[in-house]
């Protein structure tokens, strides 16, 4: 789950990381009210989950209510590379002496946490040369000690006046990353103010949804996501779904097979409408949910169900398909391929219900070809 900047700042504040005072606004009047309350000058910032907001005109400095009104009016409703701005974050403008970069994420190769710190912040980190980024690997069972943090800050070459503030923020950032079950925390820029204070001017946070069970406070982050309507519906139904823009709906069991199904449909000249992993235990209710989500996608002309039974038994899947066809008014025909555990029983069930809306194909490649031919190629 990716947070908006304002949510990321609320999250940072919970872990004691200093951020600028500010508040959200969904209308021009709200923006002015927030600005009046926190005092001028303020920065008006578009809340969208995409980089390059500043360049697109989504971040503006305002010295008075009139300017807030003007900028808020321009930014609300703005389309920033496909992301429409519905919400603003209004915060007190900061005096900036220097800009740094700091982040924590998992190093999947070394299986340790990876901290990155650079004295060259405020730009895309990809554009900063490797030798200007100080990296630190942290064993999760040891943690980030103050001594390690000091060495790290020294390695990054931060000036003496920023050291104490940076050490404090970095230790809190590590804590926010671990205790908060984030998969990424990033501050860019982390600023040094003329008064010597160090604080987070931006916040990029991705949370590990597998840890939601121990974070009731995450409930406040739900909503207002710039999400695909189909993805939202699928998530409500507990399905692993990624929206794509083609005409072949896809249901498969297992993430690997679902990815592979998307690939093979592309390979034989079709365009997948989605990735959908129905997961283990694909019973009738789950199949109904999956077919309902895909049925709502009006680009879909055919639905390719690709099941290899392991954790999911093929007879259960076949029963699920048959029942789902009775419960969902499908607009598109189904092309079904079943193999694996109880495949024979599954095929017998499907055979008893064969129609022009329910087509069986014995293997994955031919099933993909049949589905793509029904969809009419691209």
């Amino acid at each position: 789950m990716d947070l908006f900047e304002y949510q990321g700042k609320q999250y940072f504040a919970r872990y004691g990381i200093p951020v600028s005072p500010g508040d959200v606004a969904d209308t021009v009047d709200e923006a002015v009210a927030v600005a009046d309350r926190i005092g001028y000058p303020v920065v008006v910032k578009a809340q969208v989950q995409i980089g390059g907001r500043g360049k697109a005109g989504g971040i503006k400095l305002a010295n008075n209510a009139e300017e807030v009104r003007q900028h808020a009016g321009n930014i609300l409703g703005m389309d920033i590379r496909g992301h429409v701005v519905h919400r603003l974050w209004i915060e007190k403008a900061s005096d900036i002496k220097e800009e740094y970069y700091a982040s924590f994420t998992l190093d999947r190769s070394k299986k340790l946490h990876l901290g990155m710190l650079s004295a060259q912040g405020g730009v895309e980190i990809e554009s900063v040369p490797d030798d200007k980024i100080a990296q630190i690997r942290v064993d999760p069972n040891i943690g980030l000690t103050e001594e390690m943090t000091r060495e790290w800050v020294a390695a990054a070459g931060l000036p003496r006046e920023a050291v104490e503030g940076a050490v404090d923020v970095l230790q809190k950032l590590y804590n926010a990353y671990v205790e908060g079950d984030a998969s990424l925390v990033e501050i860019n820029p982390l600023i040094l103010r003329p008064d010597g204070g160090v604080h987070a001017l931006d916040a990029k946070v991705s949370l590990d949804s597998a840890a939601a069970f121990r974070h009731e406070e995450w409930n406040e982050f739900v909503g207002l996501e710039s999400r695909d309507e189909r993805e939202r519906e699928a998530e409500e139904k507990g399905l692993q779904y990624v929206g794509l823009d083609g005409s072949v709906g896809i249901i498969a069991n297992g993430a690997g097979l679902a990815m592979s199904t998307v690939d093979i449909v592309n390979q034989v000249g079709g365009a997948p409408a989605n990735f959908l992993d129905i997961g283990g235990g694909a019973d009738a209710d789950r199949m109904v949910d999956a077919l309902t989500v895909i049925n709502h996608d009006h680009n879909v002309k055919v639905i390719f169900i690709n099941i290899f039974g392991g954790i999911t038994r093929c007879d259960d899947v076949a029963n699920g398909i048959v029942q789902a066809m009775q419960r969902v008014d499908l607009r598109s025909p189904l092309v079904v391929r079943l193999d694996g555990t109880n495949a024979k029983e599954g095929h017998a069930i499907l055979d008893a219900h064969k129609s022009d809306k329910l087509i069986k194909q014995p293997d994955m490649l031919n099933a993909a070809k049949e589905a793509v031919s029904i969809a009419g190629g691209n």
């Binding site: 299986k111 597998a210 840890a211 794509l244 297992g254 495949a343």
Partner: protein
Amino acid sequence: MAIWLDKNSRVVVQGLTGSQGQFYGLRNRDYGTNVVAGVNPKKAGTDVEGIPVYATVADAVKEAGANVSFVIVPARFAADATLEAAAAGIPLVVTVTEHIPAQDQARLYNKLKDEYPNTRLLGPNCAGILSPGKANIGFTPTEVAKEGPVGVVSRSGTLAYQALYELTAQGIGQTTCVGIGGDPVPGTSFIDVLAAFESDPETEAIVMIGEIGGTAEEEAAEYIKDHVTKPVITYIAGVTAPPGKKMGHAGAIITKGKGTAKAKMDALTAAGASVAQNPTEIGGLVAKALGL
């Protein structure tokens, strides 16, 4: 010869008294796996279809001689259950549980590495391990497998089943099929499994199935180039996956341009491995490599 799991393996199921644990534990036993114990502190002294249930893994080791653990418990208990098995001295722990938080996985991996170096973890979020004709732990459907000369290793469960099916359809059997799981911090890497297959005299060719996310396949390619003499046939899923989207598995995500299928396929091709363009090609490529 199979790797890691065979007729001598004595399996304890942590989670045998749950519905999934019972279904797969009994299914594995029906295949011939020596399932000797279950664990549930609240149900110690009872049995599941004749399999005795103990309070702890340590008891299952002492009383039933368990030497492999199959962990099939809810996500919030799975890391602790895996550690319990390691602490009881179990050398192979197969954790199939999905959705263990990544922070817990990182702690678990490093704790096993530092404190229990003799324990191998398969998973989490893996399909299990099958040595056809000998034993099976986890979800792999045995109907599509048969004994033979090919070692299979995969992040994805269903793609491993697909590969077994393609091989068996060509009349080619398997030594062992190892699931390493689709999570960001797997206990066992491709390299570990490649090394085991390379030194297994009965394995004549290796099928390796990867997917987008991370760099495990690129690291495996380096290893193949320098250390593997047997033919390696690979398939990588997610060629057309959009960047920044988690494709079902927690570990299957392209971040900042890294972890693409193309980079993995290029690295494997450069290392001398064959790369199938889709799973249905795997059987044919293996047959060719074996000169069949």
